[in-house]
């Protein structure tokens, strides 16, 4: 029983990182229609930045917050490269973000080497579970709630939603669509960065951890067709918990397949349904 609880809590904790990564993908996709392949790189870059800032003597907390802001800035730059040139289609932008993900490898190895890195999180354990997992869950809950409020309760959030819903109409009322896209990339970058910062104390990060993160984040988000934040959160938690249970009771070697098979199943099932609708 205690074992089950432990798996559930660690699963939810890891799932939070997927949900954050997935939410970043959703924010960017909704506003720009671009699936940001470099989403995992934000997490890796932020986590590696934390190691440097801590090494430079900054206290915990400050180092993590700064790293998340850096990730937001990197997100903004990625958005500028991927969508800044007029006439860039979402398909083209996807390939550009693929390139940016590879460019991140070069930067990461140059500054931090190719060995896995980690840093200390919240020490101790609560009720048989590492306390840090509770921190991950708490911070994720607060940040996702704040993001939801940003979209629902502020004019900036309304403008982001408006741009996502109808870019033409957004232009008509004077919303700068490109700037909204860049803002979305910045928010997406910060959410991705937060995922990396939170998860690294319990899961080492290396330059190529981004693939697993973006795949898990995408799997979480695909449940809500890349547009529904609540379903993305549900998807992330579900994946995290199932992975923890599979790893705990079956074998850790099947863990990574969980998200992949889930993603394929959702994609194929949805395409099948679309096919039926088209035929009807």
């Amino acid at each position: 029983m205690a074992e089950l609880l432990q798996y559930l809590v660690t699963g939810v904790g890891i799932g939070c990182a997927y949900a954050l990564t997935g939410s970043g993908l959703v924010v960017i996709y909704r506003v720009t229609r671009v699936v940001n392949f470099a989403q995992g790189s934000f997490a890796v870059l932020a986590a590696l930045t934390v190691t440097t800032l801590l090494g430079a003597g900054l206290p915990h907390g400050l180092a993590e917050i700064l790293a998340v802001l850096v990730a937001g800035l990197i997100g903004l730059l990625c958005g500028l490269v991927a969508t800044g040139k007029p006439g860039t289609t979402p398909q083209t932008a996807l390939i550009v973000t693929l390139g940016l993900g590879v460019l991140a490898y070069a930067v990461e190895i140059l500054f931090w080497g190719d060995q896995p890195r980690s840093f200390a999180g919240l020490a101790g354990s609560t009720g048989g579970v590492q306390t840090h997992y509770l921190l991950i869950i708490g911070v994720t809950a607060v940040v996702l709630a704040a993001t939801a409020l940003l979209f629902a309760r502020t004019d900036l959030g309304r403008a982001l939603t408006a741009t996502a819903a109808d870019p033409y109409a957004a232009r008509i009322v004077g919303i700068d669509v490109l700037r909204m896209g860049l803002l979305a990339f910045a928010v997406g970058g910060a959410l991705g960065g937060l995922a990396g910062v939170l998860i690294t104390p319990v899961q080492q990060v290396s330059f190529d951890s981004d693939v697993a993160l973006v795949v898990n984040g995408f799997s979480a988000a695909i449940l809500g067709n890349l547009t529904r934040p609540a379903l993305t959160l549900a998807g992330g938690l579900l994946l995290g918990v199932v992975q923890a249970l599979v790893g705990g009771y079956l074998s850790t070697s099947y863990q990574s397949e969980v998200a992949l098979i889930f993603m394929l199943a959702v994609l194929v099932a949805r395409a099948g349904r679309r096919g039926v609708l088209e035929a009807a």
Binding site: T161, I172, V173, G174
Partner: protein
């Protein structure tokens, strides 16, 4: 307010507008009529800077707002949020209260998502959203399209009221009877060219326009 001189717009090799000139003066209500594909939407998109002219000049003074064809509301947002965004350029002018006084039909709808409204209600929201920008000139693209006559009459009444308060209007319509009825002057656009212009009464009396747009025998 709006002054268009010798405007030419091309899509690749196709010419959508060919040396079009027209004018909307202070406080004036002007109609632009013509069949589908005449270039009306091209003109709108050029006025609002979405398309670039190949030649000619567009000069506007004062604030311009658009009620676009197809209404283009922000479907997931509430009516109130749609209205607020109408004043996006003006951070301090986003109070929606005055609009509900002008368009009382919107009051019971204010918390409803715009995507769930009927066509007539949506057109009313689109009008309200454009008015939120407190424009000097209102450009309305195909206001009556697909709406019941009664709804169109309500909208037209609101337009007359705003016009009476000094708002200039460029009304782009396929429904020529409505347009000529509302406006003092009109232009007829066909295949990218202005083929007729003048006071509405005169145009309505001309044989060609009457036959082509009012369904009257020449």
């Amino acid at each position: 307010m709006i002054e268009v001189e010798g405007l030419t717009v091309r899509y690749g090799v196709a010419t959508a507008l060919d040396e079009v000139s027209l004018e909307v003066r202070d406080g004036e209500m002007v109609a632009l009529i013509g069949p589908n594909g005449a270039g009306k939407s091209t003109l709108v998109n050029t006025l609002f800077g979405i398309l670039r002219p190949a030649a000619g000049r567009v000069t506007t003074t004062g604030r311009l707002a658009l009620v676009p064809e197809g209404r283009h509301l922000f479907a997931p947002l509430t009516v109130d949020d749609n209205l607020r965004l109408g004043a996006w350029r003006d951070r301090k002018g986003r109070d929606t209260g005055p609009i509900y006084e002008l368009l009382p039909e919107l009051v019971p709808l204010r918390k409803r998502p715009a995507g769930r409204l009927s066509g007539g209600q949506q057109q009313m929201v689109a009008l309200g959203r454009a008015l939120m920008a407190r424009p000097d000139v209102l450009v309305i693209d195909e206001m009556s399209l697909g709406l019941a006559p009664l709804v169109v009459e309500t909208l037209a009444g609101h337009l007359r009221d705003r016009h009476a308060e000094g708002l200039a209007v460029l009304l782009i319509e396929q429904n020529a009877r409505l347009a000529l009825d509302l406006c003092s002057r009109a232009y007829v656009l066909e295949a990218g060219r202005v083929v007729a212009e003048g006071p509405s009464a005169e145009l309505a009396g001309s044989a060609g326009v009457a036959a082509a747009y009012l369904g009257l025998e020449a």
